[in-house]
Each structure stands twice: as C-alpha cells, then as structure tokens.
Symmetry: none
Subunit: 411 residues, 2 copies
C-alpha cells in the first residue's frame, strides 16, 4: 500500500469570503468533487477545536505529533527547511535582513523585501564568528529578506528574547535571557554580539552601497528571532517502518517534514507562490510513490497567501489550480493500492487575512475507505460526512490505518 | 436501571470483504436493524482514531480504561480468565505446551494443538517448584496447548524476555532480565529453572509416551511468554457502585472483565468457536439482569475467528447468529429499564485476516436514548448517526450515563 497526504495551505474559509460563499464553494472543482464522491469526508480541527493554528504547529499535528507537547518554536523548522542540518543542542533562529539607520533605529524589518543579492549577503555573513569559544555560527539566506541562523556548541539555550522588536521606529533591542541559567545568558550574549557584527559587515557591503545609490533600503543588519532547539520527535519511519518523501516549496513545510523524518524532494520550477507550477509536485509525487516511497506529503501554498492578502478571487483561482492537481492524481495514481487524504492545514478567511480556528474540510479515499454520500467538497457539505469531526493528530494514523502500516497495540 | 454491553468480536469490515460489501452489509440482520431503528448510532474507534487494537487493549478501552496508561501485557488477563487469582506483585504468563527434541530444539510451538490430556498435563506440572525460597508457582492448563503460569512472592518483576522464540527450528532461549534490577534477574532465573524442570517432568509422562507411539508430537515442554503484573484498575463497582457480570467463553475476555471487577458467569455449552450456542449467553444475561446484576457484558467471538481465516461467508453466517441473540434480547429484556450498547471490539477485514484501526459501527438503545434516523446497522449507514464518532473509553460512561449510574463531577 501507498499513502499520499495532500495539503492545500489555508484551504478553509468562511461564508463571508465571496458573495455569501466560501472560496471552496465558489471555486469550480470537478476533480476534488470526484475524489469526494469516491471518499469519506468530514471536518478537521487542525490542532483541536478552537485552537488557532500557525503553519508549523498545524503541520506538526498533521504529522501525528501533539504540538502542545513537542513544539519548541519555528526557528528549527526554518533552518531544517533551508537544508541546514540541525543537531541536538543547536539553537536555531529565523532571521530577517532589515534596514537600520546609524543609531540602529529600525526603518524596515524586511529591507523592503529585498529581491536580489541573497548569495552575496550569505557569503558576507559566512564569516560571522562569536568570541565565545567552542560555539560555531552557521547562516543561510533564503528568499527575499529571509534566512536562518544556527548556533552550535555546548551550553546553549533557546530561552532568550528576540533582538527583533517586531516593529519599526525603535532601536534594535538586546536579546535577554528568559531564565537565570548560565546557558541563556551565554546565548543572549552571543546573539547580541552577532547582531552587532552583522551590521558592521553588511553596512559597507557593495550590494548595499549600490542599493542606497538607487534609493533602495539597504539590507544592513541581521535580526534573528524565534530561538528554538530541535524537538525530540520519533520519526515516521521509527513509528511506522515506512519511507516518506516531502514535496513542498516553503522552507517551513520542508522543515517540519524533515523533522518528522521525511526526505525532501524538489519539484521542478516550484516557488511557493501563486504562479508556482504545482502540477509538477503531483508528477513528482506519483513518480516517488512508483519508485519505492511508501508515503508522499505534497504541500501547496498559494490559497493561503491570497487569503492573507484578502484576495478572494485569487484564492478561488488557486483552488482551481489545486483541482487540476487532484485531477492528475485521479488519473495517474495506482488506486488499487493507494490511500489519499486531502485537506488544509487551517482556515484563512478573506476578511480576516489570517489563520482562524474554524475547522477545514477533509476527505479520505482509497480501496479500504467506506465512502459516504457527500458529493461536493466544502465547509458545508462535509458536515454530513462519515469521518465526522476529527483533530489533526488523527489524520496520519487514520491514513496509515487504511494502508495497514500501523503496528498493533497489545499482545 | 440495567445496562447491557454486547460485543461481537471483530465485527467491523471493509468494502473489499464480500462482493463490494462489508460482511455486516451482506448479512441478513433484521433484529440488529430493529435495535438500530430504536437506537442511536455512530462509529467507534475502539482505542482512538488510527490505533490498531489487540483484543486485550480494545476491551480495556471498552471498559473505560486508557490502555496507554494501564496496559501491562496479556499474561495477567489469560491467568485471570482461566480462573486463577492474581494478587498484587504476582507475575503472570501465557504458556504453550510445545514439542522439543532432546537438544531442546523446538519442533512445534503448540504440540500440534494437542486435543487431549490437559488435566494430566496440569496435574503433572502441579508439582513445579522453584529453588528460590518464598516464591510460589501456580499453573493451569486451558484448551489445547494453552495455559497460564503465575509466580507469587516478593521481589519479582515482569521485565524479562520470553523463553519462547516464537518460531521453530531453534533452541529454547533463556529468559533474560530487561533491566538491571535484582527482581528481573531473579524472575528470569526462576523462569529458566521452571522451563527446564517442565521438560524433565513432561518428557516421560505416560500421555507423551503414548502420543509418541501413535506418531504424534509430545507436549514435552512449557513455554511461558508475555510476563505481566496485574494493572492497577479501579473496579467498575468502585467507580460506579454497581454489580456487573461477564458472560464470555475466551479466557482473555473473561480475564479483562475480571480485572475490571466483573463476576464471570459460565453460559451452558459455550466454546468461543463458530458453533458455540451463543443464544445461551443471551439467556444467561437476561437471567442475571433479572436476578440482581446491574450490568452484564456479553462477548461473542466467532466473527473475528472467521475473519482471521479470510472466511467472509463464515463471518456473515456468524453475524446472522449474533442477530438471533439480538432478537432474543429484543423479546426478553425489560426495555422499560434497560439500556444496551452493541458494537465490536475492532475491525477485522477478510482480506487482511487481522485487526485494523478502521472504526466499528455502534448502537445505543433504551428508554433514555434519543434515536436517530438510521435504520440499518453497518459501516456506511451509521456514518449519519446521532452518536457521531467516539473512542472506546467513552462507551461504558455513555451507557452508564443513560442508566444514571454515574456520579456528578463537581460539587
């Protein structure tokens, strides 16, 4: 048996989204509806009822972990998602390239979402070192202003405050230890040293001089945030004895999947944006399942981004792109031996432009699934589905249960 | 009020079971359907969604306990189920009579499912003693090759490996301590001594000499496995203040029920097999409820055994026998004051021939139950039921809730 989990980020919506309909109701989705006719549907609380998910906690839950137990912060997933290796005891941060003036007052937390020069910025910070002996500094730039920082060495802690004020017009604050432990004091000291050094390195970088000449904001400081250590997660392979792959574009999703022990596979040309050729993710998933993977996780981001921008028509259009992906799966999976779950990681209504706790439609399909009578896939129709209302941590066990991947509990 | 829990072992199925139907869908069940019309239905995850139950963990859950918290292994339930008393600190084992050659190489782990001589074997092993002072050895033979061994004394442990290799063609292994504790070392030593002595006693038993002459495999060694101590369970009487009886044939089910504080009652002629006169269990349950019991648990095994043997027609036929049992209850219970739940302890599909995690249909009926519109009892129809989707630990509290057995939580 094979298992496929398809996640359309931010899929769920509210009746206020578009002319009295949710975007899923408004979209034309013949393939998703066909999957629904073959499957068993219900409503998913991505973490549990009434909990507003972030993407990291939602995906931990979808991979079967309890985020209330295991979540240590986002930094580690961003670092893993950028391809960095994270060892036990490492402290990880998400970072922004930001713009500060000569008094370290923040003008833009994202250096106006700098589009170019990530390689030059990464190389420039490749020489970042701390004066604390035995602590290694690793940095990687990602897209636009984004990056990840990893501190490696003994006696470090993730219990420090961010040296990022999360607003403009104020001076870059010092990271402070959140506990009285020596390790927290040491880590805060290192981070403050690195932020200062990053400014010294970046302010004179040719890239930034050029940007200033062009009237653009320079990327002249590194602001780390979300200190976190690698959570202790038994991998999906350890739990179920199966090999899984993750097909995604956003670093965060790749990172959570890597933390769960899945192997990242890059689909051709995908970007995580609205225009991303997500059909290539479907093609790669089918290929990987045919070539030996037991489980594939496919993540598509666009619907969530449109909803964050209050763009109902964009979200509807992206859902219709997702429908083509489902169509590809309907035509190209080996349905005699594959079980599929399709859902979202949370609801992102158009009016809010942010994640809310409302449940998301979910459908399971495959030869061992008992289908219900539901023939359309949206927030209203699946209320009558056979799956009922489930929480995120049940999704992977239910999918793997249909595939007979699970071990028996008892003797 | 009276409460009745009726469990058809392995009741649930998959659409691949029989001509596109589950066995429950294929069976002719007018009485179960009548109970369904009067009742409220739903889907039961016997432990929780996606967890594959064994019979012991499933029944612990159905009796309201969390197997993840209380489960200690199967041995104790087998011993209790064979009528042995198990005290705190006792270490219990399931045992097989097996066949070994003169070098203790295992030829058959079940002595070709020896049909005769259980009493002689039990008596022969009645003299089993350990050289460790203060430790008592108790043994009971059950059906065929099955039995249970209990060690009683201070300083014993259940953290030892099995002296049963679970395969043939290899030498009987030594039990080994799983921890560095003195108690584990002591228990392993005792078990190894008893296995050796059992062979010395059994190899020359007249029964075995006779079997060898007839070309049959001798039952010439005792192989214990699944060391476990009695879990600490508050009894149903302690929790609810009611008296309950258990009506079953298999030792395991009797054992879990006894661990929950129910009194075992033997129905006439029942065997746990396909041909067992299970109607006698229904008659005994009605009698016990009439004569003072507040709660009766009735267990019927046949459907599960057929499914393990990939026998769809057998499973369908046994479900039709269960339907007669339900018919007896419809006609003979005092329905003004009795609440009933009917379900399975797990799903056993025909193709798999083993337990899977898929949910099982469940129905509650009785004067305080609000009925739903569902009129047939199977994996598909109950998806629309009023009970929704529940987990095993909720079953007994829901049943007892209708009976007003429960204490209020709060002051």
């Amino acid at each position: 048996m094979k298992a496929l989990m398809i996640i359309a980020d931010g899929l769920g919506g509210r009746p206020t989204d578009y002319k009295g309909k949710t975007c899923l109701e408004a979209a034309n989705t013949p393939n998703i509806d066909e999957l629904t006719r073959q499957g068993d549907t219900g409503l998913l609380d991505p973490i549990k009822p009434g909990v507003r998910p972030e993407s990291d906690t939602a995906h931990l839950s979808l991979f079967g972990y309890d985020p209330e137990e295991v979540y240590t912060g986002r930094g580690v997933f961003e670092a893993l998602g950028m391809g960095m290796d994270v060892e036990e005891g490492d402290v990880c941060f998400r970072t922004n390239f930001a713009t500060v003036d000569e008094n370290l007052i923040i003008r833009d937390r994202r250096a106006s979402r700098i589009q170019e020069g990530q390689k030059e910025l990464e190389e420039a910070l490749g020489g970042l070192k701390t004066s604390q002996s035995g602590v290694e500094v690793l940095f990687r730039a990602s897209t636009e202003h984004r990056g990840a920082l990893v501190l490696r060495g003994s006696g470090l802690s993730d219990r420090i405050t961010d040296p990022d004020p999360h607003k403009t017009g104020v001076k870059v604050p010092k990271a402070k230890p959140e506990t009285a432990e020596k390790s927290a004091k040491k880590t805060a000291k290192i981070v403050n040293e690195l932020v200062k050094k990053s400014h010294e390195i970046l302010r004179d970088l040719p890239l930034n001089k050029k940007r200033e000449k062009e009237g653009k904001l320079p990327a002249n400081i590194l602001l780390p945030r979300g200190a976190s250590m690698r959570p202790s997660l038994p991998s999906i392979k350890e739990l179920y004895g199966i090999e899984g792959v993750a097909i995604a574009a956003g670093a965060l999703y790749i990172g959570v999947a890597r933390a769960a022990g899945l192997k990242f596979k890059r689909a051709e040309g995908v970007t995580g944006g609205f225009d991303s050729p997500i059909i290539n993710k479907a093609k790669l998933a089918v290929k990987e399942l045919n070539e030996g993977a037991d489980f594939a996780f496919v993540h598509m981001k666009g619907a969530d981004s449109c909803a964050h921008d209050h763009d109902a028509e964009g979200k509807i259009a992206f859902i219709e792109k997702v429908d083509e992906v489902i169509g590809y799966f309907l035509n190209n999976l080996n349905w005699d031996e594959t079980h599929v779950v399709f859902t979202g990681d949370h609801t992102t209504p158009i009016v809010c432009g942010d994640h809310v706790s409302d449940p998301v439609p979910i459908v399971f399909a495959g030869p061992n699934v008992v289908p219900d009578d539901v023939g359309e896939f949206n927030e209203r129709s699946v209320q009558k589905g056979g799956v009922g209302r489930i929480s995120g941590q049940a999704v992977l066990p239910l999918l793997f249960g249909y595939c007979d991947f699970s071990k028996k509990f008892g003797t």
